[in-house]
Protein backbone atom coordinates (compact mmCIF):
# COMPACT_ATOMS: atom_id res chain seq x y z
CA UNK A 1 0.00 0.00 0.00
CA UNK A 2 1.60 3.27 -1.02
CA UNK A 3 1.70 6.24 1.27
CA UNK A 4 1.06 9.78 0.12
CA UNK A 5 1.93 12.50 2.56
CA UNK A 6 0.49 15.94 1.92
CA UNK A 7 2.60 18.61 3.55
CA UNK A 8 2.91 22.35 3.52
CA UNK A 9 6.14 24.30 3.05
CA UNK A 10 7.60 25.22 6.41
CA UNK A 11 5.39 22.84 8.36
CA UNK A 12 7.49 21.56 11.25
CA UNK A 13 5.01 18.86 12.16
CA UNK A 14 5.25 17.59 8.61
CA UNK A 15 9.03 17.32 9.02
CA UNK A 16 8.60 15.32 12.21
CA UNK A 17 6.34 12.85 10.42
CA UNK A 18 8.74 12.59 7.49
CA UNK A 19 11.54 11.80 9.89
CA UNK A 20 9.37 9.12 11.52
CA UNK A 21 8.68 7.53 8.15
CA UNK A 22 12.35 7.68 7.28
CA UNK A 23 13.40 6.05 10.54
CA UNK A 24 11.09 3.15 9.76
CA UNK A 25 12.32 2.82 6.21
CA UNK A 26 8.83 3.46 4.87
CA UNK A 27 8.59 4.82 1.36
CA UNK A 28 6.17 7.60 0.70
CA UNK A 29 5.36 10.25 -1.86
CA UNK A 30 5.44 13.75 -0.47
CA UNK A 31 3.13 16.34 -2.00
CA UNK A 32 3.79 19.88 -0.81
CA UNK A 33 0.50 21.69 -1.32
CA UNK A 34 2.25 25.02 -1.68
CA UNK A 35 4.66 23.74 -4.28
CA UNK A 36 4.73 20.82 -6.70
CA UNK A 37 1.89 19.04 -4.92
CA UNK A 38 -0.68 21.78 -5.40
CA UNK A 39 -2.57 20.11 -8.20
CA UNK A 40 -2.37 16.66 -6.62
CA UNK A 41 -3.84 18.06 -3.43
CA UNK A 42 -6.62 19.76 -5.31
CA UNK A 43 -7.59 16.48 -7.00
CA UNK A 44 -7.32 14.60 -3.71
CA UNK A 45 -9.40 17.20 -1.90
CA UNK A 46 -12.20 17.01 -4.44
CA UNK A 47 -12.24 13.24 -4.24
CA UNK A 48 -12.18 13.03 -0.45
CA UNK A 49 -13.63 16.32 0.67
CA UNK A 50 -16.21 14.86 3.01
CA UNK A 51 -13.56 12.85 4.87
CA UNK A 52 -11.06 15.63 5.35
CA UNK A 53 -10.98 17.39 8.69
CA UNK A 54 -10.99 21.14 8.64
CA UNK A 55 -10.26 22.98 11.90
CA UNK A 56 -10.22 26.63 12.81
CA UNK A 57 -7.04 27.13 10.82
CA UNK A 58 -8.13 25.12 7.83
CA UNK A 59 -7.17 21.65 6.71
CA UNK A 60 -4.92 20.00 9.26
CA UNK A 61 -1.50 18.94 7.96
CA UNK A 62 0.36 16.67 7.65
CA UNK A 63 -2.23 14.55 5.90
CA UNK A 64 -1.50 10.92 5.18
CA UNK A 65 -3.37 8.76 2.71
CA UNK A 66 -2.50 5.14 2.05
CA UNK A 67 -5.35 4.27 -0.23
CA UNK A 68 -7.45 3.10 2.68
CA UNK A 69 -7.34 5.65 5.45
CA UNK A 70 -6.87 9.37 5.78
CA UNK A 71 -5.09 10.60 8.87
CA UNK A 72 -4.38 14.20 9.73
CA UNK A 73 -2.29 16.01 12.28
CA UNK A 74 1.01 15.09 13.85
CA UNK A 75 -0.28 12.70 16.52
CA UNK A 76 -2.86 10.91 14.38
CA UNK A 77 -0.50 10.43 11.44
CA UNK A 78 2.36 9.23 13.62
CA UNK A 79 0.04 6.86 15.47
CA UNK A 80 -1.21 5.39 12.20
CA UNK A 81 2.31 4.88 10.87
CA UNK A 82 3.25 3.22 14.16
CA UNK A 83 0.24 0.99 14.65
CA UNK A 84 -2.26 1.28 11.83
CA UNK A 85 -5.71 1.45 13.33
CA UNK A 86 -4.44 -0.04 16.57
CA UNK A 87 -4.25 3.30 18.31
CA UNK A 88 -7.63 4.54 17.11
CA UNK A 89 -9.49 5.59 20.20
CA UNK A 90 -6.32 6.94 21.76
CA UNK A 91 -5.76 9.47 19.01
CA UNK A 92 -7.84 11.94 17.02
CA UNK A 93 -7.06 15.05 14.99
CA UNK A 94 -5.65 17.68 17.31
CA UNK A 95 -6.52 21.33 17.28
CA UNK A 96 -3.52 22.84 19.04
CA UNK A 97 -0.52 24.14 17.15
CA UNK A 98 2.92 25.65 17.63
CA UNK A 99 4.72 23.54 20.25
CA UNK A 100 1.59 21.79 21.54
CA UNK A 101 0.11 18.54 20.37
CA UNK A 102 -3.29 17.28 21.49
CA UNK A 103 -5.98 14.92 20.29
CA UNK A 104 -4.63 12.28 22.69
CA UNK A 105 -7.21 10.54 24.88
CA UNK A 106 -5.62 8.19 27.39
CA UNK A 107 -8.94 6.61 28.32
CA UNK A 108 -10.14 6.17 24.75
CA UNK A 109 -8.03 3.35 23.43
CA UNK A 110 -7.45 -0.37 23.81
CA UNK A 111 -5.27 -0.88 26.89
CA UNK A 112 -3.53 -3.81 25.20
CA UNK A 113 -1.96 -1.24 22.86
CA UNK A 114 -0.51 0.75 25.77
CA UNK A 115 3.09 0.12 24.77
CA UNK A 116 2.56 1.58 21.31
CA UNK A 117 0.76 4.55 22.79
CA UNK A 118 3.70 5.14 25.10
CA UNK A 119 6.07 4.89 22.14
CA UNK A 120 4.01 7.51 20.33
CA UNK A 121 4.16 9.88 23.27
CA UNK A 122 7.90 9.37 23.69
CA UNK A 123 8.45 10.19 20.05
CA UNK A 124 6.36 13.34 20.20
CA UNK A 125 8.05 14.50 23.40
CA UNK A 126 11.44 13.65 21.93
CA UNK A 127 10.68 16.04 19.08
CA UNK A 128 10.18 18.90 21.53
CA UNK A 129 6.42 18.81 21.45
CA UNK A 130 4.45 19.66 24.57
CA UNK A 131 1.77 17.06 25.04
CA UNK A 132 -1.76 17.75 26.18
CA UNK A 133 -3.53 14.58 27.24
CA UNK A 134 -7.21 14.17 27.83
CA UNK A 135 -8.80 11.48 29.97
CA UNK A 136 -12.21 10.44 31.12
CA UNK A 137 -10.88 8.11 33.78
CA UNK A 138 -10.20 4.73 32.18
CA UNK A 139 -6.68 3.35 31.74
CA UNK A 140 -5.29 4.96 34.87
CA UNK A 141 -2.36 2.53 34.71
CA UNK A 142 -1.32 4.11 31.42
CA UNK A 143 -1.73 7.58 32.89
CA UNK A 144 0.52 6.51 35.74
CA UNK A 145 3.25 5.41 33.34
CA UNK A 146 2.95 8.68 31.45
CA UNK A 147 3.41 10.54 34.72
CA UNK A 148 6.42 8.43 35.69
CA UNK A 149 8.12 9.16 32.37
CA UNK A 150 7.28 12.86 32.42
CA UNK A 151 5.70 12.73 28.99
CA UNK A 152 2.71 15.03 29.36
CA UNK A 153 2.83 18.75 30.07
CA UNK A 154 -0.90 19.09 30.59
CA UNK A 155 -3.67 16.68 31.53
CA UNK A 156 -7.32 17.57 31.23
CA UNK A 157 -9.59 15.16 33.01
CA UNK A 158 -13.27 15.12 32.21
CA UNK A 159 -15.11 13.62 35.16
CA UNK A 160 -18.48 12.92 33.56
CA UNK A 161 -20.55 12.96 36.73
CA UNK A 162 -21.16 11.03 39.93
CA UNK A 163 -19.92 7.47 39.60
CA UNK A 164 -23.44 6.06 39.80
CA UNK A 165 -24.44 7.99 36.68
CA UNK A 166 -21.30 7.34 34.62
CA UNK A 167 -22.90 4.72 32.37
CA UNK A 168 -26.05 6.73 31.88
CA UNK A 169 -23.99 9.72 30.80
CA UNK A 170 -21.27 8.11 28.72
CA UNK A 171 -22.92 4.86 27.68
CA UNK A 172 -19.87 3.01 29.02
CA UNK A 173 -19.02 1.09 32.13
CA UNK A 174 -16.10 2.24 34.22
CA UNK A 175 -14.29 0.65 37.09
CA UNK A 176 -14.77 3.16 39.93
CA UNK A 177 -11.28 2.48 41.20
CA UNK A 178 -9.83 3.20 37.76
CA UNK A 179 -11.66 6.53 37.71
CA UNK A 180 -10.50 7.32 41.24
CA UNK A 181 -6.87 6.58 40.37
CA UNK A 182 -7.05 8.88 37.38
CA UNK A 183 -8.49 11.62 39.56
CA UNK A 184 -5.67 11.11 42.05
CA UNK A 185 -3.00 11.17 39.33
CA UNK A 186 -4.21 14.21 37.40
CA UNK A 187 -3.02 16.92 39.84
CA UNK A 188 0.49 15.45 39.75
CA UNK A 189 1.11 16.61 36.21
CA UNK A 190 2.87 19.94 35.57
CA UNK A 191 -0.39 21.49 34.39
CA UNK A 192 -3.82 20.01 34.84
CA UNK A 193 -7.49 20.73 34.87
CA UNK A 194 -10.62 18.91 35.90
CA UNK A 195 -13.74 19.57 33.95
CA UNK A 196 -17.30 18.45 33.65
CA UNK A 197 -19.75 18.91 30.83
CA UNK A 198 -23.30 19.49 31.99
CA UNK A 199 -24.31 16.52 29.92
CA UNK A 200 -27.59 14.70 29.46
CA UNK A 201 -28.36 11.67 31.60
CA UNK A 202 -30.48 8.93 30.05
CA UNK A 203 -33.23 7.99 32.46
CA UNK A 204 -34.68 4.52 32.91
CA UNK A 205 -37.62 5.37 30.65
CA UNK A 206 -35.21 6.38 27.87
CA UNK A 207 -35.74 10.10 28.16
CA UNK A 208 -32.86 12.51 28.65
CA UNK A 209 -32.40 15.24 31.19
CA UNK A 210 -29.40 17.35 32.07
CA UNK A 211 -27.16 16.78 35.08
CA UNK A 212 -28.37 18.83 38.02
CA UNK A 213 -26.30 21.37 39.95
CA UNK A 214 -26.33 18.91 42.84
CA UNK A 215 -24.85 16.20 40.66
CA UNK A 216 -22.12 18.49 39.39
CA UNK A 217 -21.38 19.43 43.00
CA UNK A 218 -21.27 15.75 43.93
CA UNK A 219 -18.63 15.23 41.26
CA UNK A 220 -16.64 18.13 42.70
CA UNK A 221 -16.98 16.57 46.13
CA UNK A 222 -15.66 13.29 44.74
CA UNK A 223 -12.54 15.07 43.50
CA UNK A 224 -12.10 16.66 46.95
CA UNK A 225 -12.51 13.31 48.68
CA UNK A 226 -9.94 11.58 46.47
CA UNK A 227 -7.34 14.34 46.28
CA UNK A 228 -7.87 16.06 49.64
CA UNK A 229 -7.94 19.47 48.00
CA UNK A 230 -10.64 22.00 47.22
CA UNK A 231 -8.36 24.08 45.05
CA UNK A 232 -8.22 22.35 41.72
CA UNK A 233 -9.01 24.12 38.47
CA UNK A 234 -12.51 22.83 37.72
CA UNK A 235 -14.27 23.89 34.60
CA UNK A 236 -18.00 23.48 34.03
CA UNK A 237 -18.88 23.36 30.35
CA UNK A 238 -22.19 23.46 28.49
CA UNK A 239 -23.30 20.51 26.41
CA UNK A 240 -23.76 20.99 22.67
CA UNK A 241 -26.84 19.05 21.58
CA UNK A 242 -26.02 19.56 17.92
CA UNK A 243 -22.82 17.55 18.35
CA UNK A 244 -24.57 14.52 19.83
CA UNK A 245 -24.95 11.28 17.89
CA UNK A 246 -27.90 10.10 19.93
CA UNK A 247 -31.11 11.58 18.46
CA UNK A 248 -32.60 11.81 21.97
CA UNK A 249 -29.79 14.19 22.86
CA UNK A 250 -29.83 16.15 19.60
CA UNK A 251 -33.33 17.27 20.36
CA UNK A 252 -32.50 18.79 23.71
CA UNK A 253 -32.60 22.53 24.12
CA UNK A 254 -29.11 23.90 24.68
CA UNK A 255 -28.52 25.23 28.14
CA UNK A 256 -28.28 29.02 28.46
CA UNK A 257 -25.05 30.35 29.92
CA UNK A 258 -27.01 31.97 32.75
CA UNK A 259 -28.29 28.57 33.81
CA UNK A 260 -24.74 27.38 34.39
CA UNK A 261 -24.17 29.85 37.20
CA UNK A 262 -26.17 27.71 39.61
CA UNK A 263 -23.89 24.80 38.74
CA UNK A 264 -20.83 26.86 39.52
CA UNK A 265 -22.29 27.99 42.83
CA UNK A 266 -23.07 24.42 43.82
CA UNK A 267 -19.66 23.11 42.75
CA UNK A 268 -17.76 25.84 44.60
CA UNK A 269 -18.74 24.28 47.89
CA UNK A 270 -16.26 21.51 47.10
CA UNK A 271 -13.98 23.04 44.49
CA UNK A 272 -13.54 26.72 45.18
CA UNK A 273 -11.94 27.42 41.81
CA UNK A 274 -14.91 26.07 39.85
CA UNK A 275 -15.66 28.26 36.87
CA UNK A 276 -17.54 28.20 33.62
CA UNK A 277 -15.81 27.03 30.49
CA UNK A 278 -16.50 27.93 26.89
CA UNK A 279 -18.31 25.45 24.70
Amino acid sequence: MSITLFTSTGCIRCKIVKRFLGERGLAYAEKDIKAEGKEDFQKFYVAHRKSIYRGQEGVEFPLLFDGVAIRQGLAAVTAYILAGKGLDGFVSVGTLHQEWVDGLLVSGGDPSRAEEFMELLRYLKGNNMKIRLDTKGKNSHILSRILDEGLAALVVMEVPGPGALYRRITGEEVDPSDLARSIALTPKFPQYQFQITVAPVIEADGTARYLTPGEVAETARQILEITGSKKHPYLIRPFKPESADDPRLKGLDPMAVQALYSYRTAAREYQVLADLGKE
Binding site: S8, I33, F41, Q42, Y45, R49, R54, E57, G58, V59
Partner: protein, 131 residues
Protein backbone atom coordinates in the same frame (compact mmCIF):
# COMPACT_ATOMS: atom_id res chain seq x y z
CA UNK B 1 -1.42 37.79 1.30
CA UNK B 2 -0.94 40.84 -0.84
CA UNK B 3 -1.11 44.48 0.16
CA UNK B 4 -4.11 46.38 -1.14
CA UNK B 5 -2.10 48.22 -3.74
CA UNK B 6 -0.93 44.91 -5.19
CA UNK B 7 -4.48 43.77 -5.87
CA UNK B 8 -6.43 44.44 -9.03
CA UNK B 9 -9.87 46.01 -9.18
CA UNK B 10 -10.95 46.71 -12.74
CA UNK B 11 -13.25 49.48 -13.86
CA UNK B 12 -16.39 48.59 -15.69
CA UNK B 13 -17.80 46.26 -13.06
CA UNK B 14 -19.61 46.76 -9.79
CA UNK B 15 -18.59 45.43 -6.44
CA UNK B 16 -20.46 43.98 -3.51
CA UNK B 17 -19.53 44.35 0.16
CA UNK B 18 -19.29 40.55 0.44
CA UNK B 19 -16.37 40.59 -2.02
CA UNK B 20 -18.21 39.46 -5.08
CA UNK B 21 -18.44 41.48 -8.29
CA UNK B 22 -21.22 41.93 -10.82
CA UNK B 23 -20.92 42.80 -14.50
CA UNK B 24 -23.95 43.59 -16.59
CA UNK B 25 -24.06 41.80 -19.94
CA UNK B 26 -27.26 42.89 -21.63
CA UNK B 27 -30.10 41.63 -19.50
CA UNK B 28 -27.84 39.19 -17.67
CA UNK B 29 -25.29 39.74 -14.90
CA UNK B 30 -22.05 37.82 -14.56
CA UNK B 31 -20.81 37.25 -10.99
CA UNK B 32 -17.44 36.36 -9.53
CA UNK B 33 -15.25 37.04 -6.51
CA UNK B 34 -12.81 39.91 -6.29
CA UNK B 35 -9.03 39.72 -6.34
CA UNK B 36 -9.12 40.58 -2.64
CA UNK B 37 -11.35 37.59 -1.91
CA UNK B 38 -9.25 35.12 -3.88
CA UNK B 39 -6.09 36.43 -2.26
CA UNK B 40 -7.60 35.96 1.20
CA UNK B 41 -8.64 32.43 0.36
CA UNK B 42 -5.32 31.30 -1.02
CA UNK B 43 -5.17 28.42 -3.49
CA UNK B 44 -8.77 27.39 -4.01
CA UNK B 45 -9.22 23.61 -4.07
CA UNK B 46 -12.97 23.36 -4.38
CA UNK B 47 -15.92 25.56 -5.24
CA UNK B 48 -19.49 24.56 -4.63
CA UNK B 49 -21.83 26.38 -6.96
CA UNK B 50 -25.56 26.19 -7.64
CA UNK B 51 -27.05 24.70 -10.75
CA UNK B 52 -28.89 26.40 -13.58
CA UNK B 53 -32.40 27.55 -12.71
CA UNK B 54 -31.64 27.86 -9.01
CA UNK B 55 -33.07 31.09 -7.69
CA UNK B 56 -31.65 33.51 -5.16
CA UNK B 57 -32.45 36.79 -3.53
CA UNK B 58 -29.70 39.36 -3.22
CA UNK B 59 -27.33 38.58 -0.37
CA UNK B 60 -28.27 34.89 -0.36
CA UNK B 61 -25.47 32.41 -0.01
CA UNK B 62 -25.05 30.86 -3.44
CA UNK B 63 -21.91 28.80 -2.94
CA UNK B 64 -18.79 28.03 -0.99
CA UNK B 65 -15.14 28.45 -1.92
CA UNK B 66 -12.66 26.24 -0.09
CA UNK B 67 -8.91 26.42 0.19
CA UNK B 68 -6.55 24.54 2.47
CA UNK B 69 -6.66 27.39 4.96
CA UNK B 70 -10.29 28.41 4.95
CA UNK B 71 -13.81 27.91 3.63
CA UNK B 72 -15.74 30.98 2.63
CA UNK B 73 -19.42 31.43 1.84
CA UNK B 74 -20.24 33.24 -1.37
CA UNK B 75 -23.00 35.85 -1.32
CA UNK B 76 -24.81 36.87 -4.47
CA UNK B 77 -24.83 40.59 -5.29
CA UNK B 78 -28.08 40.48 -7.23
CA UNK B 79 -31.23 38.40 -6.97
CA UNK B 80 -32.32 36.28 -9.87
CA UNK B 81 -32.27 32.90 -11.59
CA UNK B 82 -29.02 31.16 -12.45
CA UNK B 83 -28.62 31.00 -16.22
CA UNK B 84 -25.21 29.38 -16.30
CA UNK B 85 -22.52 28.09 -13.99
CA UNK B 86 -18.83 28.11 -14.83
CA UNK B 87 -18.29 24.39 -15.23
CA UNK B 88 -14.56 24.84 -15.85
CA UNK B 89 -14.17 25.42 -12.14
CA UNK B 90 -15.09 21.85 -11.29
CA UNK B 91 -11.76 20.60 -12.61
CA UNK B 92 -9.85 23.85 -12.33
CA UNK B 93 -10.93 25.88 -9.31
CA UNK B 94 -7.56 27.62 -9.49
CA UNK B 95 -8.94 29.68 -12.36
CA UNK B 96 -10.64 31.80 -9.73
CA UNK B 97 -7.25 32.59 -8.24
CA UNK B 98 -5.58 33.17 -11.58
CA UNK B 99 -8.34 35.14 -13.35
CA UNK B 100 -10.99 36.21 -10.84
CA UNK B 101 -12.55 38.67 -13.27
CA UNK B 102 -12.11 36.60 -16.41
CA UNK B 103 -12.05 32.84 -16.81
CA UNK B 104 -12.68 32.45 -13.06
CA UNK B 105 -16.22 33.86 -13.19
CA UNK B 106 -18.71 31.91 -11.09
CA UNK B 107 -22.29 32.24 -12.32
CA UNK B 108 -24.39 34.09 -14.86
CA UNK B 109 -27.65 35.45 -13.45
CA UNK B 110 -30.95 36.50 -15.05
CA UNK B 111 -31.83 39.24 -12.54
CA UNK B 112 -35.32 39.87 -11.24
CA UNK B 113 -34.59 43.54 -10.76
CA UNK B 114 -31.67 45.18 -12.53
CA UNK B 115 -32.05 48.27 -10.37
CA UNK B 116 -30.40 46.30 -7.57
CA UNK B 117 -27.18 47.04 -9.39
CA UNK B 118 -27.61 50.69 -8.46
CA UNK B 119 -26.81 49.98 -4.84
CA UNK B 120 -23.59 48.09 -5.53
CA UNK B 121 -20.23 49.75 -5.01
CA UNK B 122 -18.02 51.47 -7.53
CA UNK B 123 -14.42 50.41 -7.78
CA UNK B 124 -13.27 53.31 -5.63
CA UNK B 125 -15.93 52.76 -2.99
CA UNK B 126 -15.07 49.07 -2.77
CA UNK B 127 -11.37 49.80 -2.39
CA UNK B 128 -12.19 52.37 0.30
CA UNK B 129 -14.20 49.74 2.13
CA UNK B 130 -11.14 47.51 2.27
CA UNK B 131 -8.94 50.10 3.93
Amino acid sequence: MKDLDELYFPDGILYYQEHTWAKREGDLVRVGITDFAQDQLGDIVFIELPVSDDEFSRDDEFGIAESAKTASQLFIPIGGRIQAVNEELEGSPGLVNAEPYGAGWLVLVKPYDLTELNSLLSRDDYIASLK
